[in-house]
Assembly symmetry: C2
Homo-oligomer: 338 residues x 2
Amino acid sequence: MSGDRETITLAEARELALAALTRHGCDKANAEAVASVMLAAEADRAESHGLFRLPGYVASLKSGKVDGRAKPAVSRPAPGIVRVDGKLGFAPLAIEMGRAPLVEAARSQGVAALALVRIHHFAALWPEVEALAAHGLAALACTCATPMVAPAGGTKPFFGTNPLAFAFPRHDAPPVVFDQASAAMARGDVTIHAREGKPVPPGTGVGPDGQPTTDPAEVLKGAQLPFGGYKGSNIALMIELLAGALIGEVFSPESGRSGPADGGPPVGGELIIALDPERFGAGTWGERVESFLAEMLEQPGVRLPGARRHLNRAETGETGVYVPRALLAEIRDLAGVG
Amino acid sequence: MSGDRETITLAEARELALAALTRHGCDKANAEAVASVMLAAEADRAESHGLFRLPGYVASLKSGKVDGRAKPAVSRPAPGIVRVDGKLGFAPLAIEMGRAPLVEAARSQGVAALALVRIHHFAALWPEVEALAAHGLAALACTCATPMVAPAGGTKPFFGTNPLAFAFPRHDAPPVVFDQASAAMARGDVTIHAREGKPVPPGTGVGPDGQPTTDPAEVLKGAQLPFGGYKGSNIALMIELLAGALIGEVFSPESGRSGPADGGPPVGGELIIALDPERFGAGTWGERVESFLAEMLEQPGVRLPGARRHLNRAETGETGVYVPRALLAEIRDLAGVG
C-alpha cells in the first residue's frame, strides 16, 4: 500500500516467524503452533495480532518467562472437561492439543469445556472458536490477564481487557464469529492512538488522577474503562471468574503481579466451551440460521461480525500482506536474516 | 413508603398471586412455580419482575396462548444435556423440573446444559442461575423473544432484549450474580420513562423514522438499541444463536410473529449452562474468590452485582413489600378477593 510498507507472501511471513521463534528457543511444535495463529491474524489483516506480536513472543522467550519447548499435558478430569496444562509455554500448542479431545467430548457429551492452565496467551481468541465451528460446534472462549481496565465506578486498573469470543457454525459459509475485549477500546488501539497523537472517544478511559480523559497517553498511565458501563464491567467480572476461579488459574490482578514485564504475554488461563447443535436437537438449524441472518442483513448498515476478516482472508492468499517496513526489519533481525 | 402504595407481607402477596393464577387456569404446580419466581423478584424489590407481571401472566392464560396446566417433559438427549419441553406452559415449572437433572449432570460431567423449549418466559433470569449457584455451580442463562432491539447499525426491531445472566457461587455469602438485557435500557424502564414523561439517555433508541431520540414514547414506537454499540449487539446475536438455533427454538423475529399480542410472554427457548468448579480442579477457589472480590471492592464507587437485591431480600421478610395501590387493586380483582 503506502511506501512505509512492504508486500510479502504469507509463506514468507510464516518462514520469518518460524525462524525468529526457533532461533530464540522454541521447538518445532511450539514454533509452528505460534506461527499459525499469528499468520492467521495477518492473513485476516488483523494486524494487531499478526506479525506485530512476534517481538513480544521473542521477548518473553529471551527473558526466560516462557518455555519455548513446553510439552503441554492433556487430561480428562471429567467426561465433559478436557484440561490442558500448558507447562508455562505459549498457548497455541496447548490449544491445538486440547482441540481434538474437546471436539470428541462435545460430540459425545453434547457440551464440553476445555480448561487451559499455565499458558501464556498472546493472540486473538477467534482462531480457537473458528476452529471449533469448522467442526460444526458452537463455541465460546474467554481469558483474563494483566490488569488494565477499571471496574465500573472505579478508576484503577483491575480487570484485564478480558476478551469474549463466540462462533456459531454455518453450512457452506464461514461461521458467525466475534472476538471482543470487554474494554471499551482494545489496548492496541489505545497505544496506536497515543503514538499518532489522536484523541480517544470519551468513555475509553481515565487518567492516573482518575478523571475522564480523551488523551490516550493519560489512559495508558491511568486505566481503561469497560464497554457499555456496568454491563461490560459485569462481562469482565464473569470472565475473571470463569478463566480464573473456575479452572484454578490466576485472576488478572494476580497475573499482573507475576513474572517479568518483558512485553510478552503474562501467565494465565483460558476457558473454552463447545456445544454440539446436533446433540441439542436443533433440527434444521443450518437453514434456519441462514434465513435469520438474511433477515438481519436486510437492514441497511448492519454487518455480520467476522465478515470483514473472512473477506480479507480470501484476498491475502493472492495479494500477500503489507507489513510496515520498520516491523519487517525488526523481524528479519530477530530471524537472523537479511 | 408513599401514599400511593400499600404494604403487604410476602405471604399475602404470594396468596394473591396463587389465587389469581389458579382462578385463570393454572394448576397447583404451575401456579406455585410462577408465584415463586414472581415473589422472589418482589422480595428483592426488583418490582418490574414482581407482582407487576401478574396481569400479563393472567392475560396470556385468558387468551389461551399459555397452557396453565402444562406438564413439562424432561429428557436427556446426551450425557451433558437435559432437555425440557415446556409444552407451551410458563417457564418456571419447566425450569424447576430441569434443575435437579441439570445439577446431577453438571456434577457428573463437569459441565452440562439445560435446553428449555416451548416455554413462555416472563421473569428475570437470575432466579435460575442463583439456584444453581446455591448448589455450588457456576451458571449462565440466556433467552430471546419479541423483537425490540435494532442490531448495531440498524434502526428496526430485530433482537429481543436478550438477557444474559451469570452466577458464581461463594462460600458463606450470596453468589456473584448479574442479569442484564443486551438492550441499553430494560424495556420496562423505557415504558416507565414514557409514562412519567421523562427523557431517556442518548443511545437508548431510535424513533420510527430511524433517528436517535431521547423521547421514550418514540423509542417504544421505533427500536431500542443494544448496550455498548456493536459489542452489545454481538452479545444479543450470540443469544439468538444459543437460545434459538442451538436448541431448535425460535429466533426473536419469529417469536414476534407468533401468538396473540396479549401482553403476556411469547413462546421461545432458554439455554442454561452449569459448570462445577470442583470438577475443573479449581482448588481453593472459595478463598481465592473472596480475596479477589475484596480487592475489587477496595476501589471507591465499585459495587458487587446483585448485592443490592440481596440486601433487599434480607429486609423484605420483615418489612413486607410496598405495592402500588392501583396494581394491588387490579391483582385483588384478578384473584377474586377484596
